[in-house]
């Protein structure tokens, strides 16, 4: 009897997880739509530079590649962290997500460095329509990374203090979805904003 009740409770929880997972997925898809609109805006406005240098003179491609590799690696370590969460291995979860967090922080640092260099050279979001679109698109992604880092940081502190309980594992599942999603968006930023500037 007791095992039966346990089974019922678990299937309820699984159903709840499915619902929450789908709800979060719907959020991700609407977020994707927003990014798509920002991409379209950038693609339309990219040549309206009004006298500022072309993007291939402005961008550093090795920097963009480094950012891409860092984010891809962080997505991979987040995946390994999720596998550890499935095994209930708290130390490995903290390790892998700790690495993910540091990689995300490095990515954000490189992005802010690039932004501050542009602004220092006098190329800001106020210079022209093209740069407005650039800063909006890349900056929105950066804001997402920032909120992802805040989320990850708090989740890691809770896991460290309270251990791996079901709500925290669910939180990590959604977080890793969010993180992979940001990785996908960045791949398109890397291709459409950075690589295509040199094509």
């Amino acid at each position: 009897m007791a095992t039966e009740q346990g089974h019922v409770a678990e299937s309820h929880e699984a159903q709840a997880n499915d619902r929450i997972g789908f709800g979060f997925w719907v959020y991700l898809m609407t977020d994707l739509l927003m990014f798509a609109v920002l991409f379209a805006t950038f693609a339309v406005l990219r040549s309206n530079t009004f006298g500022t240098p072309e993007y291939h003179e402005l961008f550093s491609l090795p920097l963009a590649l480094a950012e891409t590799l860092i984010l891809l690696t962080s997505s991979f370590t987040a995946g390994l962290g999720m596998l550890a969460a499935g095994r209930g291995d708290k130390v490995q979860v903290l390790t892998w997500f700790g690495i993910t967090f540091l990689l995300g922080l490095t990515f954000l640092g490189l992005e802010l460095k690039e932004f501050s260099e542009f602004i220092h050279e006098g190329y800001t979001w106020r210079s022209n329509a093209s740069l407005s679109a650039f800063f909006t698109l890349v900056g929105t992604h950066g804001l997402h990374i920032t909120s992802g880092l805040l989320w990850m940081g708090t989740a890691l502190v809770f896991i460290w203090k309270r251990g791996l309980n079901a709500p925290l594992v669910r939180k990590l599942t959604l977080l890793s979805l969010f993180w992979h999603f940001l990785d996908v968006v960045w791949v398109f930023i890397f291709t459409i904003v950075y690589l295509m500037a040199f094509a």
Binding site: E10, W25, S75, L83, G86, V187, T191, L195, F198
Partner: protein
């Protein structure tokens, strides 16, 4: 320890996939990043072929991420997440392709040059940086003269029609630095800043911009004239 009790049961993994699938996904995503980077840096392909190729790699990258990292399509039927993704991709294609398509045609039918010429024609600008804009391209009308003599402009007012011309002749022994607008605020007339007219020389302007305008010698206060251009 209570945390041990709450550890999710192994048969209900919150996340699918194995270490192997993550490693394969990671390696593929590295390849699909480095190959387009190499193609761009080494300039192996060019133009539209290159653009199409790197976008193709981005799409491959998307598929790798969706399959190996987001584990889509592996949940129980019906695959709501996958269906929702495909619907979203459909909307994205409409928004992005539609925007680019419309904006391309807008640019094609009305380039920056067209816009400039339209504004120039509406505003009656005769030339932009020395290049005629097309206003009064059918030829000019009557010619009016303003003589600068004894530091006075004679006559000091001219009534003309659009596309007439105005000749400003310097009959004094000293040059006159003729500018448009007032001393305090110089306003170019029809794209002309004005000119330093040496003794015995003149300056001809085509009256394209409508309305009443003034001209003056910027080096002295009392020499000024006005002209009104009617349609």
């Amino acid at each position: 320890m209570s945390e041990m009790i709450h550890t999710p049961a192994p048969n209900h993994k919150p996340h699918h996939g194995t270490v192997a699938s993550y490693v394969i996904g990671f390696l593929l995503s590295l390849i699909f990043t480095l190959v387009p980077y190499y193609l761009v840096v080494q300039k192996i392909l060019e133009g539209n072929v290159l653009v199409t190729t790197i976008i193709g790699f981005a799409v491959l990258q998307l598929i790798v991420q969706v399959v190996f990292f987001l584990h889509l399509g592996r949940e129980k039927k019906p695959h709501w997440n996958l269906i929702f993704l495909l619907a979203t991709v459909g909307i994205i294609l409409m928004v992005v392709v539609g925007s680019l398509w419309i904006m391309h045609h807008l640019h094609y039918n009305m380039s920056a040059t067209d816009v400039r010429d339209k504004v120039a024609s509406d505003e009656g600008v005769y030339q932009i940086q020395g290049t005629p804009t097309g206003t009064c391209a059918n030829g000019t009308g009557e010619n009016y003269k303003v003589e600068l003599k004894d530091n006075r402009a004679i006559p000091d007012h001219v009534e003309a029609k659009q596309c007439d011309t105005l000749t400003i002749i310097n009959l004094d022994a000293a040059p006159h630095d003729i500018r448009f607008g007032s001393h305090e605020m110089l306003i170019p007339y029809a794209g002309e800043d004005g000119k330093n007219i040496r003794p015995g020389r003149n300056m001809i302007i085509t009256l394209t911009e409508l309305g009443t305008h003034t001209l003056h010698d910027h080096t002295q206060h009392d020499l000024s004239a006005s002209f009104t251009v009617n349609r």
